[in-house]
Symmetry: C2
Subunit: 231 residues, 2 copies
Amino acid sequence: MTQSRDDDRRAPAAKGPGPAAAIVDAAFRLFNEFGYDETSVDDIASAAGVSRSSFFRLFGSKEMVIFPDHDAILAAVEERLAASTQKSAILAVSDAVRVVLFHYIAEGPLARRRYQLTSTVPALRERELISGSRYQQLFRQYISAWGDGTEESERRGELMAAAVVAAHNRVLRRWLREECEDPHMEIDQAMAQVNALFAPPPATTPAAPGAIVVVRTDQDLEAVAEQLRSL
Amino acid sequence: MTQSRDDDRRAPAAKGPGPAAAIVDAAFRLFNEFGYDETSVDDIASAAGVSRSSFFRLFGSKEMVIFPDHDAILAAVEERLAASTQKSAILAVSDAVRVVLFHYIAEGPLARRRYQLTSTVPALRERELISGSRYQQLFRQYISAWGDGTEESERRGELMAAAVVAAHNRVLRRWLREECEDPHMEIDQAMAQVNALFAPPPATTPAAPGAIVVVRTDQDLEAVAEQLRSL
DNA sequence: CAATGGATGATACTCAGTTTCATGACCGAG
DNA sequence: CTCGGTCATGAAACTGAGTATCATCCATTG
């Protein structure tokens, strides 16, 4: 896995030289120049110096050139969520969201080029939506598991998962549009907002500046800390 | 809408006799018998006694045979949302959600047949997801407009729209699976839950610096202090 | 050297969706 | 009745994505 060299055949998203990277480069270049629909797979393959067959062998479809490693991110999210219990649930969710967000941010300009495509090509926007729903499904699954089995609890899990993904998407989209200077801060705020919504109603007395805030909590300190961090 | 005769040419989803209805019937029958991927458009067209051309003229794509009138529902939702202001916002959202839900429920067995397909054929599930996101976008747009323009308010709109759609989807899915006896009641409960989450942020003024935070916990003060220090 | 296995390329095929053109039914005007 | 229009339909060819098959090449290994 971690062996070096140009063994990126297993990791099409890698940056090093290799057929996969050449294909990605050619694809983004042609998409930007001529448009997504106007660029055929044959165009990409020949521009990258590989055969059509190899293209479909490496990326299963034309759309997948744009979205390289969703499966890997999804696995990372699941890993983070799995390493958690009720007590650290809120923290786990926030962490998992950060995993996703900062993965994209780490891509830098590539992520923005992708956004330029997804925001103009309906087929790609839809593909992105679908992968987003897989995150939501994953979050829902874990959040639900942390609750009791009542319908209200299940519904709460569903709503919270939707909110979590929406919060992430908003921050990410703002960053992609360069409307967001500090994504760390914004994702913290956004997740704090989510947690404030879904945490058990903390009997917040309207507080004048300098007032005493009493937090009734059955939660563990991590949860409290998460909320405080947002103030 | 309710006029009789066979003037369903403008309404492909209508039930009366006519080419569109024949196509829908043939499509569902063949999909159920042989599977979605195994049924070609030619199969459907010839089974319905029309030409391939007519099929694509009436429904733009193979997937659209399954989802007839999303645009109409979307328009109905928008109509309901548009007829509302901040004061009646919560009611408008709940009403709009009910419009969608009961539209599907009114379809009765057809909706359940569709569900059987969408829950087994990935391409159709994705198509459904996408139309769901259009509802979400619509709700977000209106809910955001009801707020002040702050980022927190915008985010709240985004989260609430996501939650609203998620709540609807949950109730609808339960009804489709026949796990839900009284969809009226369930959607009311679900929307009440959404409103309870999003409605009145009970004036939670962020505590000014120097506020006192009281945490009830089993842990001793040293542990608490240590945790807080790490914020 | 021979054999094996993995990666690649070439080719042909299916099918969705688009475009173009021809046909035929209906309809009002002369 | 006939001409000239429109509109729904059908027919056929075309593009392009995705799949399957087979041949080839190359590197390792015995």
